[in-house]
């Protein structure tokens, strides 16, 4: 079977929705600039690209139509390059990587750009016209459960105290702050031009975070709850992209290989405990790769919430020291559709940087799913 490689990764800065520097940037503009930047940085011949696969969790309004096609055209890709928009909520752009990997494996193309974007400023969660099925919304309210409520459910069932969540959140902030201060993140960022200004730094991290500050926050989703804004990922604007191609093509074109895609998986779970989704998906992916959690040198686990991150680390038996080395979504932000490509790209880069052998990128998905990708060092 043709081996699949990750040959490049880039993202926009991630900034807070509504208040941040990217709030006024259209998501199509944002994603197009990242695609253009990735193509330029990797030097891939854009004529060779088979397809642009773009993940987006709420593909309507400015994220509507076939956003992928528009992004490809705006990014200056040849008109011959295909484009499809993919939705698996937060797993959207990781799914685009999986589609690319599958396509390459079956000989349906050599070069794919896998993109993710979300402007949570400009298209609200639930979209502009939330119209749930009235009967199922009544009989099965969990089909439509809010994400914060699932985080509370996980905290309850896995008995994760507020203090434990806050310690985890603080660690995420500290790691992100250190990574930024030491310039470990600069390379992955494509500066975004908006009018006369250029946005090149992340806007979400709060390096000044303290345990006392976190302890003083009010519950964000339930009056008696344990989850706060400080232990949740913030609403974020951002885009990310990875270049996925066949090993043979990378070799021929002289592209640097960050990592091999070794195995992938998705797996459903109870919607009201969606945060635990990574457990089932990761177990499957690890099994397919023929390795165990102990073999992992690098893990990128999306921090939708501290509670579900801790539960997943526990249940998968991950070594916390290897999880989210440069901080996670609680600090960096979580632009829904963009996160999957970010953590795949980040895990691949870290594998190279840390000189490890195996990496896992995994995330939970609203509605009750998990998605996972196992990478192997080049």
């Amino acid at each position: 079977m043709t081996r699949v490689v990750v040959a490049g990764y880039a993202r926009s800065p991630f900034t807070l929705a509504t208040r941040g520097a990217l709030a006024r940037v259209r998501p199509d503009d944002l994603a197009a600039q990242v695609v253009r930047g990735l193509v330029a940085r990797t030097g891939v011949n854009s004529e060779d690209i088979e397809d642009l696969l773009l993940g987006c969790a709420f593909p309507e309004g400015e994220q509507g139509l076939n956003l992928a096609r528009l992004v490809g055209l705006m990014a200056g890709l040849p008109r011959s390059v295909g484009a499809a928009t993919v939705n698996r909520f937060c797993g959207s752009s990781m799914t685009s990587v999986h589609i690319a990997a599958g396509s390459i494996a079956m000989g349906a193309g050599d070069v794919f750009i896998c993109v993710g974007v979300e402007s949570m400023s400009r298209v609200p969660m639930m979209g502009f016209n939330p119209l749930p099925h009235p009967i199922f919304a009544k009989s099965n309210p969990e089909f439509y459960i809010g994400m914060g409520d699932t985080a509370e459910n996980v905290a309850q069932r896995w008995q994760i105290s507020r203090a434990e969540q806050e310690t985890f959140a603080l660690r995420s902030q500290q790691r992100a702050a250190a990574a930024i201060a030491e310039g470990r993140i600069t390379d992955e960022i494509i500066p975004i031009t908006a009018g006369d200004s250029v946005i090149e730094t992340d806007g979400c991290p709060r390096p000044e975070t303290t345990l006392e500050g976190l302890a003083s926050l009010k519950p964000a989703f339930s009056a008696e709850g344990l989850v706060t804004a400080g232990t949740s990922s913030p609403l974020t604007d951002g885009a990310s992209a990875v270049l996925v191609c066949s090993e043979a093509y990378a070799e021929k074109a002289g592209l640097p290989v960050l990592a091999y895609v070794r195995a992938v998986a998705v797996r459903g779970c109870d919607p009201e405990f969606m945060g635990i989704g990574p457990v089932g998906a990761s177990r499957r992916a690890l099994e397919r790769a023929g390795i165990s959690a102990g073999d992992l040198d690098v893990v990128e686990l999306n921090e939708a919430f501290a509670s579900q991150s801790i539960a997943c680390i526990r249940d998968l038996g991950l070594d916390p020291k290897r999880v989210n080395l440069d901080g996670g979504a609680i600090a960096l932000g979580h632009p829904l559709g963009a996160t999957g490509a970010r953590i795949v790209g980040k895990a691949a880069s870290l594998l190279a940087r840390e000189k490890g052998r195996y990496a896992l990128a995994t995330q939970c998905i609203g509605g009750g799913q998990g998605i996972a990708t196992v990478l192997e060092a080049a």
Binding site: H133, E224, G225
Partner: protein, 774 residues
């Protein structure tokens, strides 16, 4: 008034900043300058900080977010040259002549020729301020004295000096009147001008008399408060608001400026406890407290009052005073009451009213000006001369004579008469010459009270009246208690529509009450519910909807002209007017959910129409529904007419009048402008989300429940609201007619009104004035 395009305010303290905010409320760009604080990173820190604070202040100095953007912060070192582009420069710095004069020299060097400079001083005479300054400056200089808070207090005292150009005074008068909405009173250049001269005396007498007679502060505030039509803060509560630390400064400055014979000197006796309070930081509400404080020891908030003799705080009482109970509504009976309380009230008020009379001719040209200044500057219900008329000038003269006190000439002139009279339907006032003169109204001011004095209503019943305001326009006035809406108003409106159609051109809905209308008469509703008179309640809802629909269908324009609160049914009548000309201080909202109801007189339907038409929302069946649901389910009340536009309680093309006294004239002009070619709006169709949208709203409400922000009964009421706003059982591909939607609104209303949760809420509102969170 077009002469003022840009304004600068110098001094970003409490008054200066709030004056700048109010100038911005008028839509004028304004530069706010202050000194550069030592070692500051941001050289505009003082002005910028003041603007930021005002954005969060309550009551808000700004009427809306747009106004805040019109204020540019700056500093006196880098931005002086910008004064060269400014038409009016308002100085509001510390009350020190040397500092003000040094500033004037800087201003004069930077300003453009002919620009107007004014001071907001409340104590320093104009002649002293301009002493030694060039004539060109003196000609352009005047005093524009605002009252705190400038957005809300309608008084501006205008003082010109011997050299001030009359055109400069006229420019500021016109701008302050039309654009800032102020009643401009000409004050003479005497110490503290009009309102503070009398107000400070009044407060001082009330304080020293209370201390001398051993009257506790709570009792003094009850006595020198509501019985005389003064705000319920009384004397000590007001001083807490103003700041105790200001008293010694103001008193010293008045004492130095007033002639020896002035009665103020006798009242200006020190009260030792006050000095003690100030030195301990009890400077009033801005400090740790004042005559009253909130004690939070032990986790509970306890209101305490100070003992004027010992300075010790004790839990504040709510005394029931026999003197007040027995006097009823008569201030004279209170002052004649044979008790310490009666004697205290008499001592304070006889001195105050006599002092007011002694100021006639000295501080202002007319007694009406003094009355107006006290009403608008101190929120007295009646000015001193109206009060004397109520008490009886002869009674006051007799009291003064019995005390061996002098009787001021104007009071002597009122002997056997009154200060005001109505002659041929016009209000007249007593002049110093002993003759009566008309109370003048500024050009263009049209007051319903003047019309009512001079004519009879065309139609009238127990809750409303209809007046001819000229040029073919009628005015519909609510006269019910608190202008609440009831079946009589609906009945008279139906008659009025017929009358206008037959013989007139247009209708204005307006009244001069403190509030346009507080909504439907809940007492009646509760009474009907308690006797299970459901058909009557249904009839009221149907009748209201029909009346409001008939207003919209009428073949002539109807213009609403609200000021103050327009809530619930009072808001809904405005929603059905063809245009609204609102006073800037209009507080409009649909607050029915607070009493467990939903708008039932077409309010839900009209708001849906507005958000679909003007809302600039994304396409689709849901956005307007969700937006209206958000506004109505939280009983949002706009805190200004500008905010009402943002919430679409007012349409974008509706007008805003800054000066309340000009509201009726503006509304009438608006109505007349619409007459030619007027056609009534046609029926409307709606496309709504149906049960799917309802499901989305229900989910949102459940989230609020989990957050503890919604109560169990909120969920019931919000459910009914969601049912109407989503269009009931409709489907997004169907079109719903207005009639069907109104029927849905009515049916959801009727289902709520007979539920215990709703009746409990209504009862609580009637008993406590507060919404019940059941």
């Amino acid at each position: 008034m077009d002469d003022i395009q840009t304004v600068a305010v110098i001094g970003a303290g409490v008054m200066g900043a709030a004056i700048a905010a109010h100038v911005a409320n008028a839509g004028t760009t304004v530069l706010l300058l202050d000194i550069v604080p030592e070692g500051a990173k941001d050289r505009n820190a003082l002005a910028a900080g003041a603007i930021a604070r005002m954005m969060k202040a309550d009551p808000a100095p700004f009427m809306g977010k747009r106004a805040a953007k019109l204020v540019t912060p700056g500093n006196l070192e880098d931005d002086l040259d910008k004064l060269g582009e400014v038409d009016w420069i308002i100085e509001a710095v510390i009350e020190r002549r040397d500092i003000k004069q040094a500033l004037y020299a800087k201003i004069d060097a930077a300003r453009k020729p002919g620009s107007i400079v004014s001071s907001n001083t409340s104590t320093i005479p104009l002649v002293t301020l301009v002493e030694g300054l060039p004539e060109s400056f003196r000609q352009d200089f005047l005093i524009s004295h605002f009252f705190n808070p400038p957005r809300y207090m309608r008084l501006m005292e205008l003082v010109g000096g011997p050299d001030t150009r009359p055109e400069a005074l006229e420019t500021i008068r016109a701008y302050a009147d039309h654009r800032l909405g102020k009643t401009v009173i000409d004050a003479r250049d005497t110490p503290s001008f009009i309102a503070n001269r009398l107000g400070v005396y009044w407060l001082q007498v009330a304080v020293v008399e209370a201390a001398g007679r051993g009257i506790p502060v709570e009792e003094a505030d009850l006595l020198i408060g509501k019985p005389f039509g003064f705000p319920k803060t009384g004397v000590f509560g007001l001083l807490d608001l103003v700041g105790l630390d200001l008293m010694p400064h103001v008193n010293a400055s008045l004492s130095a400026a007033l002639p020896e014979a002035d009665a103020f000197h006798a009242a200006n006796r020190p009260v030792p406890v006050i000095a003690g309070l100030i030195s301990e930081g009890y400077t009033g509400r801005k400090g740790k407290g004042g005559f009253y404080r909130i004690n939070r020891d032990g986790g509970k908030k306890v209101k305490e009052a100070v003992d004027l003799a010992t300075g010790v705080y004790a839990s504040a009482r709510k005394p029931k005073l026999e003197a007040i109970a027995e006097a009823g509504r008569s201030p004279r009976a209170l002052m004649e009451h044979d008790s310490e309380h009666g004697r205290y009230a008499r001592a304070v008020m006889v001195a105050t009213l006599a002092y007011a009379a002694s100021l006639a001719g000295e501080v202002a040209d007319t007694i009406a000006d003094i009355d107006e200044a006290m009403c608008l500057g101190y929120a007295w219900k009646d000015g001193p001369f109206v009060l004397i008329d109520r008490i009886g000038p002869d009674w006051l003269i007799a009291r003064l004579e019995a005390d061996g006190a002098p009787v001021p000439p104007i009071l002597e002139a009122a002997r056997g008469r009154s200060f005001y009279r109505v002659e041929n339907g016009s209000l007249e006032q007593l002049g110093l010459d002993g003759a009566y003169h008309p109370v003048p109204r500024p050009v263009g001011v049209l007051l319903l009270s003047d019309i009512k004095r001079a004519s009879q209503p065309l139609l009238k019943n127990g809750s409303a009246a209809v007046w001819d305001i000229g040029d073919g326009v009628l005015c519909f006035e609510f006269t019910s208690k608190m202008n609440s809406m009831d079946d009589q108003i609906m009945a008279l409106m139906a008659k009025t529509l017929g009358l206008v159609q037959k013989s007139y051109k247009a209708l204005v809905i307006h009244n001069e009450g403190a509030n346009f209308s507080v909504g439907a008469n809940l007492g009646l509703a509760l009474f009907a519910a308690n006797i299970a008179a459901w058909p009557q309640i249904d009839a009221l809802v149907v009748g209201g909807q029909q009346t409001y629909q008939a207003m919209r269908a009428a073949p002539f324009p109807i213009v609403g002209a609200p000021s103050g609160m327009a809530l619930g049914g009072g808001c809904e009548i405005l929603l059905h007017c063809d245009a609204v000309q609102a006073h800037a201080e209009s507080y409009i909202g649909l607050v029915e959910v607070g009493v467990g109801l939903i708008p039932g007189w077409g309010g839900c339907v009209e708001m849906l129409y507005r958000w679909r038409t003007y809302g600039r929302l994304p396409n689709g069946p849901m956005p307007a529904t969700a937006k209206v649901f958000e506004i109505l389910s939280t009983a949002t009340v706009a805190k200004s007419a500008a905010e009402a536009k943002a919430l679409l309680f007012l349409r974008p093309e509706d007008g805003i009048t800054m000066n309340r006294a000009r509201l009726l004239a503006d509304a009438k002009a608006r109505a007349l402008a619409m007459v030619e070619g007027y056609t009534a709006p046609g029926p409307r169709d709606y496309r709504l989300p149906g049960p799917s949208g309802r499901a989305a709203l229900d989910m949102a409400v459940r989230n609020f429940r989990r957050l503890g922000k919604a109560t169990p009964y909120d969920e019931v009421v919000a459910g009914a609201l969601a049912g109407v706003l989503s269009g009931g059982e409709t489907d997004p591909i169907e079109v719903v007619g207005e009639k069907e939607l109104l029927a849905l609104e009515r049916s959801e209303f009727s289902q709520l009104v007979c539920q215990a949760g709703t009746l409990d809420r209504i009862e609580s509102m009637l008993l406590t004035g507060k919404p019940l969170r059941n």
